[in-house]
């Protein structure tokens, strides 16, 4: 790939945001996410996951986004897993909380 991504381990207690080079396109099944740097296309498989990802930049930490979207705690592990994949592939990145 043309541009290396900084692969990060996801931690829901930290602040995250969509990578500035990633575009999110809402779809009935969730969303398509495209990274212009790595040219990687990913699928967000539910509208809820899309809502979480959209909210990441405005919440203090990843788990706060889960709360705001109303994801039941029993389902958090599934979301953590999906977010971890997005972090590993550079789709979402760590940011300083503000």
């Amino acid at each position: 790939m043309a541009i290396a991504v900084s692969e990060e381990v996801y931690d829901g207690r930290r602040a995250w945001a969509l990578h500035p080079q990633v575009s999110l396109r809402p779809e009935s099944f969730g969303a398509l996410a495209y990274h212009f740097g790595t040219r990687r296309l990913s699928f967000l498989k539910s509208p809820e996951l899309r809502a979480v990802v959209e909210r990441l930049a405005e919440t203090g930490c990843g788990d706060e986004a889960l709360v705001e979207v109303g994801v039941p705690e029993a389902e958090w592990p599934r979301y953590h897993q999906a977010l971890a994949t997005l972090a590993r592939t550079g789709m979402i990145v760590r940011r300083d909380p503000s």
Partner: protein, 391 residues
């Protein structure tokens, strides 16, 4: 994240609000005359979209959030406004991957291209040696492609693509293509030969034999994600495990083609009235054609498995490629001509008196006609009579 695709493939079959991947042939003009050209390119079409129309279309792509377009032709760099359109698209959140034969990639262009992060380039090469390549793409085309790759690599552009159409004569060179890609820091892209455009005329001689099909499949399984295929070998999924990709025919569902005059076809390999959905110059624009054309609506309906219904592999190969069937005169609800179980070969042998469909448009350059002139005297029959060559 191909692992999550499984169930999503069903959603894709019903179509999306905008294509995931769009091919836009910018011009039918080409300085080469490849024997298998899928768009029968050569001469420029006088009705070609103007610069302003192209810009308006890019604006529409941006509104539809089409992340990137595959620009091809013809040879797209022949258009005088090509480089400007490239800059316009990439500065409006529309990434561009363009295919070129490389002949117009100067060192300056290479540096300019390398500096643009939203850009990807595919250099077409159909042989790992000049002999094999030039037999299909024309004399000198191998050297021109290699020179372009050298220039891109020298300019620091890494990860560009070497785009190879698999033919009977180059399947034995797959490892050499991979070596070539490594040498220039490029990535190999291997796609299927379709009997589309002029490809219909040479398909019988060029398409891989059944033994070679298996060879392609095994090689792709071995090389996994390292080699791109544009999802073009899903008809081989019947051999066993699926190759990386969505493994479905995306025509009118997640892909389509916009041709140089703005006609929208279901896929790049189906330039025929049967697969024409509309034109971007219509009032509804491209988005309207994509969302409401009756052709695309019907392609998004569940498709009949037809003669393949009883085959245990149908779920894997989905009956193969619509365009490959159509242009070889096979029914669309039957086996692919290159069906791994050999049903395609049987069907081809049973074609009786089928007239093969011709592409909707043909911009091939005609062989240069002899200049005819009136003989100097009525008995002078030689066309060269009275002709004195210039010194």
């Amino acid at each position: 994240m191909t692992a999550v695709v499984g169930r999503l493939a069903d959603r894709f079959e019903q179509g999306l609000d905008a294509p995931i991947c769009l091919t836009w042939e910018l011009t039918y003009a080409c300085n080469l005359a490849c024997t298998h050209c899928l768009s029968s390119s050569g001469r420029r079409d006088p009705r070609e979209l103007t610069t302003n129309e192209c810009i308006a279309l890019i604006d529409e792509f941006e509104r539809m959030q089409i992340f990137y377009v595959n620009i091809g032709g013809g040879e797209p760099t022949i258009r005088a406004d090509f480089w400007d359109l490239l800059d316009y698209a990439t500065s409006h959140h529309v990434g561009v991957k363009f295919s070129t034969n490389g002949s117009r990639i100067t060192p300056d262009r290479a540096r300019q291209l390398a500096a643009n992060d939203y850009l990807d380039i595919q250099i077409s090469l159909d042989g790992a040696t000049a002999e094999v390549n030039d037999a299909v793409r024309g004399n000198g085309s191998f050297d021109a492609a290699i020179k372009a790759m050298e220039r891109l690599a020298d300019a620091g552009m890494s990860g560009f693509k070497i785009s190879v159409v698999a033919t009977r004569h180059n399947v034995g060179q797959l490892d050499r293509f991979a070596t070539l890609a490594d040498r220039y820091g490029a990535q190999l892209r291997l796609t299927r030969l379709r009997p589309s455009g002029r490809g219909a005329d040479v398909w019988d001689d060029l398409h891989p034999t059944s033994v070679q099909q298996r060879q392609i499949y095994d090689w792709l399984v071995d090389h996994g994600d390292q080699v791109l295929t544009g999802d073009s070998f899903f008809h081989l999924a019947g051999y066993g495990e699926s190759l990386p990709g969505l493994n479905l025919c995306g025509a009118g569902r997640v892909v389509c083609l916009i041709d140089p005059v703005g006609d929208v076809y279901a896929c790049p390999f189906a330039i025929h009235d049967e697969f024409l959905a509309g034109n971007v110059r219509s009032d509804e624009g491209f988005a309207g054609v994509w969302r409401t054309s009756s052709l695309f609506s019907s392609l998004r309906e569940p498709q009949s498995a037809g003669a393949c219904a009883s085959c245990g592999h149908f779920d894997a190969c989905r009956g193969g490629c619509m365009a490959a069937k159509f242009f070889t005169g096979l029914p669309l609800d039957g086996p692919d001509p290159e069906c791994v179980l050999g049903h395609g070969e049987t069907a081809l042998a049973q074609r009786d008196g089928v007239v093969l469909p011709k592409p909707a448009v043909d911009h091939s350059r005609q062989p240069i006609a002899l200049r005819t002139r009136r003989p100097d005297r009525s008995c002078d029959e030689s066309p060269l009579a009275g002709f004195t060559p210039a010194p």
